[in-house]
């Protein structure tokens, strides 16, 4: 059974002459319990695919399937109970005047849970924050701690799918390691399915079993983690990405 399936997904913005095709005929599947990556440059359409799944883009065509359910124009509460998203910038995605407690209990209330007090503490424990963080405001937290709160918020409805949009690109490498380790553990504990966007191939190779490489809205190549590690890529753009993952190579420019 495939958990997420995209068939011929097209997303566009604007009409007529102003029309921009952000995603063109994207087709891929993410099996249940798997972790799948989307890599590409800014503007390649990788985040747009996540936003399309969440119902955050106005125009799209093609087919998106979650579990057995084909998605229509509207998303209902049951969808958001199953699929949740963690955004890139924890400095922007948390309300500055809501405490951690407010952020988490609001989501829990919306999804109709009753034992909110116990669940808030359990969520904080899940993401490695003690109960002392419960009544703090975002400005009293470091970047890594904020991203932990954002992850706790996404976990609150007990989803089975997490969409991760560059979850560590705003963080220092040592903090990135902590957050990636947390995501690895959570996936094992809760049997989650991940669809993860990143511009960093090393991060994708660490977190995912397979990835799609995107350029100008199109998927140009699909790679398994073994192929990534062996640097086996067909498309010149993917090869360039793999090479730059190991630093600056003065000869890379001519080939790009």
């Amino acid at each position: 059974m495939s958990r997420l399936a995209f068939r011929d997904l097209c997303v566009w913005f604007g009409e007529g002459e102003d029309r921009v095709d952000a995603v063109k005929n994207a087709t891929f599947e993410v099996p249940s319990g798997a972790s799948f990556g989307l890599v590409g440059e800014s503007g390649s359409g990788k985040s747009t695919i996540l936003r399309a799944l969440m119902g955050l883009v106005p125009n799209w065509s093609g087919e998106m399937v979650v579990g057995e359910r084909k998605l229509g124009e509207k998303r209902d509460r049951a969808f958001y109970k199953e699929v949740q998203m963690v955004f890139q910038d924890p400095y922007a995605s948390l309300h500055p005047r809501h405490s951690v407690d407010q952020v988490l209990s609001e989501v829990l209330k919306l999804h109709g849970f009753s034992d909110i007090d116990r669940r808030v503490n359990a969520l904080l424990a899940d993401v490695g924050l003690g109960p002392s963080y419960r009544f703090r405001y975002p400005h009293q937290l470091s970047g890594g701690q904020r991203q932990r709160v954002a992850i706790a918020r996404a976990l609150a409805p007990e989803p089975s799918v997490l969409l991760l949009d560059e979850p560590t690109s705003a963080l220092d490498v040592s903090v990135q390691a902590e957050v990636l380790n947390l995501l690895t553990d959570l996936r094992e504990e809760h049997g989650l399915t991940y669809l993860m966007v990143s511009h960093d191939l090393a991060v994708i190779a660490h977190m995912c079993e397979a990835t799609a490489v995107m350029q100008n809205g199109e998927i140009v190549e699909m790679l398994s983690v073994e192929e990534m590690r062996a640097m086996r890529a067909e498309h010149p753009y993917t090869r360039h990405l793999l090479e730059s993952a190991s630093g600056y190579n003065p000869n890379a420019e001519q080939r790009a």
Partner: protein, 287 residues
């Protein structure tokens, strides 16, 4: 190094007064810069950007810059008047910042911005400035420099913007370029291009480059020498190509926390910060 260093810094501190007392962002570091690519790496808050700004005396009061020595080829930068400092900035030492979007004037044509800098520092005429600007844009691999000269910054992509910034900073042919995370806002394909341009300028013009970055792999492969900063101090100095043999537990921890394509592991190493690092004396980066 046998030749005299371009920049000689001893015991540099940057202090900001706060309600809880003075906060030292840079705590007594010493290093020299020759005609080389010197990398400064560290995490956010380690003082690496403040070091770059302090050299140009861009720390605004109430922030204070103090140093036993802050010399540009024998000239004491701390003794210069603000007006004399203006002549140093841009002409002798230039700086490229992280995001071109915030460093270019949005309501001024790119050509006018480049020409203004050149004319300010050299007193050259319009025609000469125009030709110089075109030459510099060509040097940073911009294909149609005439069109770019007439364009406004918002018409340019991030990579183009950063190349324009470099052209603008190089037009006065400075001795030192300070690049503060010059490629962090760029996509990888553009990043390689921008780096190879800077690399060429350093080699061909014998410039000194201070390359500030949080990206260890990039610094290891791009620079000649690396200073690793932690909490306002230099904890380790090493040759860039031997960064992976670094000894200090902080450097080792940073390297270990990076996911690697060639070494898969289930969990990444997590950096354990030792409070003793805070009080250990700064390592000298003087040569």
């Amino acid at each position: 190094m046998s030749e005299k260093p371009l920049l000689d810094i001893e015991d540099l501190t940057v202090t900001f007064p706060t309600r809880q007392g003075d906060f030292q962002a840079v705590r007594g570091i010493s290093f020299t810069l020759g005609r080389e690519r010197l990398g400064i790496v560290g995490e956010s808050g380690s003082g690496k950007s403040m070091t770059g700004r302090a050299i140009l005396r861009l720390i605004r009061p109430p922030g204070r810059v103090e140093a036993g020595k802050l010399e540009l080829e024998g000239t004491d930068l701390l003794k210069l008047s603000e007006r004399e400092m203006q002549k140093i900035r841009g002409q002798r030492i230039s700086m490229v910042m992280q995001d071109p979007k915030f460093s270019l004037n949005p309501v001024m044509r790119i050509g006018d911005q480049i020409m203004e800098i050149y004319r300010f520092h050299t007193g050259a005429g319009k025609r000469a400035a125009y030709e110089k600007a075109i030459e510099m844009l060509e040097a940073v691999s911009i294909r149609d420099p005439e069109r770019v000269m007439r364009a406004y910054p918002h018409e340019m992509s991030g990579g183009m913007g950063q190349r324009i910034m470099i052209a603008m900073m190089m037009v006065t042919e400075p001795d030192i370029l300070i690049a503060d995370e010059p490629t962090s806002a760029l996509d990888v394909s553009v990043q390689t291009q921008v780096l190879s341009i800077m690399d060429r300028l350093v080699r061909e013009r014998g410039m000194g480059l201070i390359f500030i970055s949080h990206d260890l792999n990039l610094v290891a492969s791009f620079c000649d020498r690396v200073l690793i900063m932690y909490a306002g101090k230099i904890v380790e100095v090493c040759d860039a190509d031997r960064l992976h043999e670094a000894r200090h537990p902080y450097t080792r921890g940073l390297l270990g926390s990076l996911p690697r394509l060639d070494e898969p592991r289930h969990h990444l190493e997590v950096l354990k910060r030792d409070p003793a690092w805070l009080d250990a004396p700064s390592v000298s980066g003087r040569q």
